[in-house]
Chain length 361, copies 2
């Protein structure tokens, strides 16, 4: 019995576009007389940023300028770069509670103090955020505003505007991790965060829409913020972060493959997310969970008296695992929640996983 | 009159292997059923590390194990990673004087104090290093031990062993930037530094032997040191640093192209370095300079009374530039030196550059 791991926040193997990427690489090799072999432009190649801006503009439905994009080695490296250039050890940042567990160490390794802001079913608690601004002076607020990881919630337009007003009044930045923004199954999400303010650094990535192995992403922000990061010492010595791959992904976008693949992903993940939600709520009617609107995850509140860590121990014996809620809490709370990812498995395996889980209740 | 820029520490455009890289990519696309699209192994793909170890072993003439290699996004990112995991702000490190100017900011951005150790014509001043150990407690000594940038000198076997003995006695690490080690035109260089001690972190890169745009390099060290870096938070979230490209470079090595290209580079650079040395010492006999044995650079001592910065101002008017010595000094000294790179231009342009320079004396 192979273990079904609901913890995997990965694209499914069958949804990695090997054939399209092969075609894009072949086309790139034939069309481009010169590959991107030399030291590159620090910000990323202009030609690539131009095409990326146009792809994003088409999908974001708001103007995106190539001047406002900095090419990175993925969202995690981009986030670390932001910490490097906008914080110093001892600084405080605000972070959603719950949030993506693997960023905690990126922040604490930079010596930052994390202040959690509750983000429940109704989204970010702006009143709590405002009240905590009396005692703290955060450099930035790190948010996953659309299809939050793990919560699945989306910060609505009005809340975004209130948050921007607070950031102006209290002089903090907004770091918006928007890697799931394009995986929109409900087509009702607000604009990406840069649409609302110049105080935003938005993290984007090809990991969720093309392939994680590329380690290719971008930061979208105004030139004042961007220029600060161009002073980076590693960038100064090594040139652009990921030049050669950006040439191949240039062809992938240019040939229309990125748009086509995004459509496939949205269709597939919509199906999977709906299936997991259906199996969960019919097989385990006592759990509480909202219908998924995008991204990778369901955030599931357990019935009273069931502890996620204890459930996990029982689940392992039945061949199924997941991430318990405390992992997503800076304070190791939220142990009445579990996160289930629907990105990695086909619907029949998702069903089998929930049936196994049901045996542990 | 196009400016001749002796400052360019780049491979020549004609020495970037576009055709071989195209062939390698094509072969990779045909042979590999699955591209490296998924999240990767944190240390770098085993298959790639195995082949890289075997390539290095063949050229280093000493045993290299795949377990001792960590794949990076180039030497600069590798160096920053070492700072991240082995130092904290306020720590002291020792550095050669002169040294590669673009690393200074990597160190100071990490809050490190730099203590210079004189490295003149006769190589590293080990007596000075030992005496400075009385007042300082460095975390590591950063050295470019072979074909030093900018000095061109190579730390000899006996000095390496003395340095290792000091590092053991005084408990500091040796960070050996060995990106030029394989560009050996005299075939007399000692082994790479890891051969002599387990206290060494060696930085390697494909930037000088294949192409800078790949942003692909490695750190070679023992598993105790390596495991510390595997705890990296960006690596934890994003997987291996440069997975997709390592697949294409795998094919480049496997097809024998890397060995073949290295041979071409050594032949070409040997010719260029000899030519620049010849033109310099015949056209400008009053300067002092040692015959180049490897790497990219000549380090030229100016005749008494000539200041490098003033010379540069005059040189610009004659269509030639270079890096003046103070840039390579943590204390902005050494302004009676200039660094000339021979990697970027053909011999006839190197000659023209020196003729232009001679007009400024």
């Amino acid at each position: 019995m192979e273990i079904i791991n609901f913890g995997k926040g990965y694209p499914a193997n069958v949804l990695l576009p090997h054939t399209l990427m092969q075609k894009a690489c072949e086309s790139h090799l034939q069309e481009e007389k010169k590959l991107f072999l030399h030291y590159g432009h620090k910000q990323g190649e202009e030609k690539f940023r131009e095409l990326l801006a146009s792809f994003l503009q088409q999908n974001y439905k708001t103007a995106i300028e190539k001047e406002d994009l900095l090419i990175t080695c993925g969202a995690s490296q981009g986030l670390d770069l932001i910490c490097q250039h906008f914080t110093k050890p001892g600084d405080t940042i605000f972070i959603e509670e719950p949030s993506y567990f693997l960023v905690f160490k990126i922040f604490t390794d930079r010596g930052l103090n994390l202040v959690p802001i509750n983000t429940g079913k109704n989204g970010l608690d702006l009143a709590e955020l405002e009240s905590k601004l009396k005692a703290h002076n955060p450099v930035f607020f790190y948010t996953i505003p659309t299809f939050q990881n793990p919560g699945g919630t989306t910060l609505q337009e009005e809340q975004r505007q209130k948050l921007v007003a607070l950031s102006e009044k209290h002089d903090f930045l907004i770091v918006a991790d928007e890697v799931y923004h394009l995986l929109d199954y409900s087509m009702r999400s607000p604009f990406p965060f840069c649409h609302y303010s110049k105080r935003v650094l938005s993290l984007g990535s090809f990991s969720k829409i093309l392939a994680p192995g590329l380690r290719l992403g971008w930061i979208h922000c105004c030139s004042t913020l961007l220029n600060k990061m161009l002073e980076d010492s590693v960038l100064g010595s090594g040139g652009g972060f990921n030049r050669f791959i950006s040439g191949q992904v240039y062809s992938f976008i240019k040939l229309g493959f990125q748009q086509q693949h995004l459509k496939l992903l949205i269709g597939s993940y919509r199906l999977r997310s709906g299936a997991l939600y259906y199996f969960l709520t019919t097989i385990l009617p006592d759990v509480i969970c909202s219908p998924p609107e995008g991204g990778y995850f369901l955030w599931v509140e357990l019935p009273k008296g069931i502890n996620a860590q204890q459930l996990l121990e029982r689940a392992k014996k039945h061949g199924v695992t997941f991430h318990p809620g405390y992992k997503f809490s800076t304070q190791k709370k939220l142990n009445n929640f579990i996160r289930l990812s629907f990105s990695f498995y086909d619907c029949d395996i998702l069903e089998e996983g929930i049936r196994r889980l049901a045996k542990c209740f």
